[in-house]
């Protein structure tokens, strides 16, 4: 329960922090940290326009997408407090539930019969396929390291052993930050501020969504960011008491947001054709973690 509340709270101003970081780094004052959320509220109040080509799938997809991320958020623990849903192998369901939402978003993009949205859908499908192995190997390494197979058990037993766990946690955060960037279609893969359809991924997929649906999709992105931030924070919180863990949670989340802002300010977007190579790096880094774990556990002996 704790993590659900914290993530929901964080999701309100996560993107605001990113935007603020970016504006400060580019020498502007920038909007307040609640501005993205205000925009979303405004969208929630608006009416909507549906394309005549679309079917029911287009109408339900944003809701299903939001539900899938919310369901995934329910599985994320906070330190010693397990998530709302916690069982052995919950991270498998976590990944597959998110994939369900993605599936519907991809087909809803194809539902519009647009000449652009298929492009984004195609890229989203490919990149999320390439990201998935990294996530599973990462969790597999930690399952091997701790001998546990659920989010909560893995995180709560992570730091009982040696100090190596913090090193692994740092490497894992690197992978997870990049997974979050890819899943949310941010730089260096995709530029959310671009206005050319040919170079967009996520934005081009939702060209035809408007009003409430668009608001829901944008909010889901924020929620997803906060969710990945929460997972990253779990690598360091361990079983610390709430007085320490909750401030640490916010510090790590803010660090994450600032890191995203810094990356976006100083990096250019990759050429679309080079993106797969970049995504493969993640899998190799998680393989590195896996072999590191094997080394620590002395399996190579």
């Amino acid at each position: 329960m704790v993590s659900l509340l914290l993530i929901l709270l964080m999701s309100l101003f996560f993107t605001g922090f990113i935007i603020r970081t970016k504006s400060i780094l580019s020498g502007r004052k920038g909007p307040g940290i609640f501005q993205p959320m205000r925009d979303i509220f405004r969208l929630w109040k608006k009416g909507s326009v549906y394309s005549t080509t679309t079917s029911f799938i287009f109408q339900i997809a944003p809701s299903a997408y939001f539900a899938s991320v919310l369901m995934a958020v329910l599985m994320v623990p906070h330190g010693r407090n397990p998530g709302f849903i916690s069982f052995d192998g919950d991270f498998i369901m976590f990944a597959y539930i998110l994939a369900f939402g993605k599936f519907l978003m991809i087909v809803s993009a194809l539902d519009t019969g647009s000449s652009f949205e298929g492009m984004g859908a195609s890229r989203e499908a490919l990149f999320s396929m390439l990201v998935e192995p990294a996530f599973f190997i990462l969790l597999g390494s930690f399952a091997l390291f701790t001998g546990q197979t659920s989010f909560h058990d893995i995180f709560s037993t992570l730091h009982y052993g040696s100090q190596v766990s913090y090193l692994l946690g740092a490497l894992a955060s690197f992978v997870l930050v990049l997974i979050a960037m890819i899943e949310n279609s941010r730089m260096p893969l995709d530029d959310p501020k671009t206005h050319l359809e040919l170079t967009m991924i996520h934005e081009v997929m939702i060209l035809d969504n408007s009003g409430f649906d668009l608001g829901t999709i944008l909010y889901t992105t924020n929620l997803k960011f906060a969710m990945y931030g929460a997972i990253i924070s779990n690598f360091f919180i361990g079983v610390l008491p709430y007085e320490i863990s909750i401030p640490m949670f916010f510090i790590i989340q803010l660090g994450f947001a600032i890191a995203v802002g810094v990356i976006e300010s100083f990096m250019a977007r990759f050429r679309m054709g080079h993106n797969p190579q970049f995504v493969f790096i993640l899998t190799s880094v998680s393989l590195l973690i896996f072999f590191g774990v094997l080394l620590v556990l002395g399996k190579f002996a």
Partner: protein
């Protein structure tokens, strides 16, 4: 009781086949469907009673050739009987509506009905009989009758070609099985399956493994493991939709049944066997889905997906064998449990997908994905049924595919906590492969569903009306019902599964029961949360409806960057949807491309063609065959059509036949003479 019921079931088939002779076309259809339904009911009763009262065994005296014929209905047989029967039930009821389009081909339909009955009966009998020579005979009946049902549209040359390809490959399969069975027979003197056990226990590991490889290769041709998969992508598009569904759902599964049966009997080094099956399955799974994505023909795409799913089932079997070899009970449970459940699950969603594809085919007379589009508006039932099938085959919750994949992941992640490095690495690659298969399946089915059913039509094709009649749709909804039940309440089959798994290994100890209990609790949790997820989706959707109730909702055309003309042809196509994937996979696959670009001031027609070749088929079958043909072709001068030459051959032959003995005699005499010198 089981004996009588099985005999009635076989007798019913014979009665129906005789009855078909005396009826008109319509009566034949009603008779066939009636008999199939009756047989399904009888067989279901038999299977359920086996699960309730334990295995049944009885003998027929047989003849001096066969020896006693043992019939053993154990849990494995019962499980496969249930799977086969359900798919045949829905397949028959769907098929009779599908076949209405061909009502004027009366004789052809009669042959189809006879073969269909034979196919079902022989498949059931294969699961029961445990005498190798009788099994081979039934296997042959099964192969021939499936050949006949596949080539229903035999007036098309592609269909006939695919059928002959199937016929040859299934006979290579029978040949290998015959060699394996005869090996055991010669060494032990009996055709009883138990001889495999007694024979393999006395042999060295290598001999045992060789025997297993013979069996495995034979059954793998039927099941479609790479590199023996090449008949599947040809046969599936050629057959009528209900046959494709049945073929993918259960005929290839009979190969899996064979492998599972042999694994139960053979006593050899299970670790080697496990690694071998796992290795083959990983390649099968990945290769199947990688090729599936680049297909343009909807049914061919589904056929390659069958290969992928056989790979997933194989991963489960391989894990189970490794569990047996390393004496890891949890792995046995998760591996075999996942494999058996996936056999059922795949038979459900794959038949659903093929039936939907059949509806599309009969509406549009077209299977080319690139020409279709926007069908969900014209055929809503088919569209949503295909969507459910797609979600299930991608292994997404809350559908049944997720349950069996979760089973496998469970085994894989628990197996990681082991001390054997080689084993850990293999598990790691299995996890990687399973994840990549899942991701690629997602690309494949977003493409198939999105391009065929969504958007607007890409070409003006004549469309037939009244495809979605209730009689045709209800078997498909029946399948969906089962898919949902397994997805949301995965525990309904747990006792059956535990019974089947307990046949492997020297009895499951109490600790294993506890493990299985743990897996089941997790599964029931997964089921409940899946239900919760469905509720959450509908809650949020209804919340949205409630909030936006008073808002203004307008309709307009899709945003086209200020272009307002017809956009049907401007839509994203299937080829462009997978272009970036194709670029990545190009080094592994072989894709033929043909391109004509726009040239000059007044360009003519521009076009681009891509055609995916099956590299393994090219290298393993086409090229060697070409070599053989070339070699044999060098003797073509002998067959010159000259009567005189043929008479000369006759004389030469007769002369040689007569003279050869005496020539040899002379040579012997000379050799003897030389020796005496």
């Amino acid at each position: 009781m089981e004996k009588t019921l099985i005999e009635i079931c076989n007798l019913l088939a014979i009665v129906a086949i005789v009855g078909i002779l005396f009826l008109k076309t319509k009566g034949r259809g009603i008779l066939t469907i009636g008999i199939i339904t009756l047989q399904v009911i009888i067989n279901t009763v038999v299977a359920l009673s086996v699960f309730a009262n334990g295995p049944v065994e009885y003998f027929y005296p047989g003849s001096f050739v066969t020896g006693a014929i043992p019939v053993r209905i154990d849990y494995l047989s019962a499980w496969f009987i249930l799977v086969i029967s359900f798919t045949f039930l829905t397949g028959a009821w769907y098929g009779i509506q599908y076949m209405k389009k061909y009502i004027e081909q009366s004789d052809n339909l009669a042959l189809h009905a006879v073969a269909f009955l034979l196919l079902y009966t022989s498949l059931i009998d294969i699961c029961l009989v445990q005498n190798s020579i009788v099994l081979l005979v039934i296997w042959e009946i099964m192969a021939l009758s499936s050949f006949v049902v596949i080539i229903f549209e035999h007036y098309k040359s592609t269909t006939l070609k695919a059928g002959i390809n199937f016929l040859i490959q299934s006979h290579v399969c029978i040949l290998l099985l015959t060699i394996a069975f005869m090996w055991v027979k010669v060494k032990t003197g009996t055709f009883d399956f138990n001889a495999i056990s007694s024979f393999s226990t006395t042999q060295t590991k290598i001999t045992g493994f060789a025997l297993f490889i013979l069996f495995f290769t034979g059954f793998a041709i039927k099941a479609g493991f790479v590199p023996f998969h090449t008949w599947l992508p040809l046969a599936h598009p050629a057959a009528p939709a209900h046959i494709s569904g049945i073929m993918s759902g259960v005929i290839i599964k009979i190969g899996i049944y064979g492998i599972l049966r042999v694994l139960m009997l053979i006593k050899t080094d299970m670790v080697t066997v496990g690694y071998f099956i796992l290795f083959v399955s990983l390649i099968t799974g990945l290769y199947g889905v990688m090729l599936a994505i680049v297909q343009h023909n909807l049914k061919k795409l589904l056929a390659y997906h069958s290969i992928e799913n056989i790979g997933i089932i194989g991963i489960g079997i391989g894990l189970g064998c490794l569990g047996l070899g390393y004496n890891n009970q949890l792995l046995v449970l998760a591996g075999f449990g996942g494999a058996l459940l996936h056999v059922l699950n795949h038979s459900l969603f794959k038949s659903l997908l093929f039936f939907s594809a059949g509806n599309v085919y009969q509406a549009k007379h077209m299977m080319n994905i690139e020409s279709l589009g926007g069908l969900i508006k014209r055929m809503p039932h088919t569209g949503y049924l295909f969507l459910i099938g797609s979600l299930a085959i991608c292994g997404l919750p809350p559908f049944n595919g997720f349950i069996s994949e979760f089973f496998l992941y469970n085994g894989l992640f628990h197996g990681l906590v082991s001390s054997n490095l080689q084993f850990i690495l293999f598990l790691l690659f299995s996890i990687l492969a399973l994840v990549i298969i899942g991701g690629l399946a997602l690309i494949c089915f977003t493409k198939a569903f999105g391009i065929v059913f969504l958007g607007s039509p890409r070409e003006e094709i004549h469309e037939e009306k009244n495809i979605e009649v209730p009689m045709r749709i209800w078997p498909m909804y029946l399948i969906v019902l089962l898919i949902m039940i397994i997805g949301l309440f995965p525990l309904i089959f747990n006792t059956y599964l535990l019974n089947v798994i307990s046949l492997y290994g020297p009895g499951l100890n109490p600790q294993a029961k506890v493990h299985f209990g743990e897996i089941l609790t997790q599964l029931s949790i997964v089921g409940w949360y899946s239900l919760g997820f469905v509720a959450l989706v509908f809650l949020i959707y209804n919340l949205k409806l409630l909030i936006t109730r008073r808002r203004i909702v307008n309709q307009d055309t899709t945003w086209g960057c200020a272009y307002t003309g017809q956009t049907g042809k401007l839509q994203y196509t299937a080829s462009s949807f997978i272009r970036s994937y194709r670029k990545l996979a190009e080094p592994i696959l072989s894709i033929k491309k043909k391109k004509e670009e726009a040239k000059g001031l007044y360009p003519g027609i521009i076009m681009q063609k891509t055609h995916a070749l099956d590299k393994i088929e090219t290298w393993l079958i086409d090229k060697p065959l070409l070599k053989v043909r070339k070699f044999l072709g060098s003797f073509v001068f002998l067959q010159n059509g000259n009567i005189q030459a043929y008479i000369l051959y006759g004389f030469v032959f007769v002369g040689l036949a007569l003279l050869l003995p005496s020539i040899i005699e002379k040579i012997v005499v000379i050799v003897k003479f030389l020796n005496q010198l």
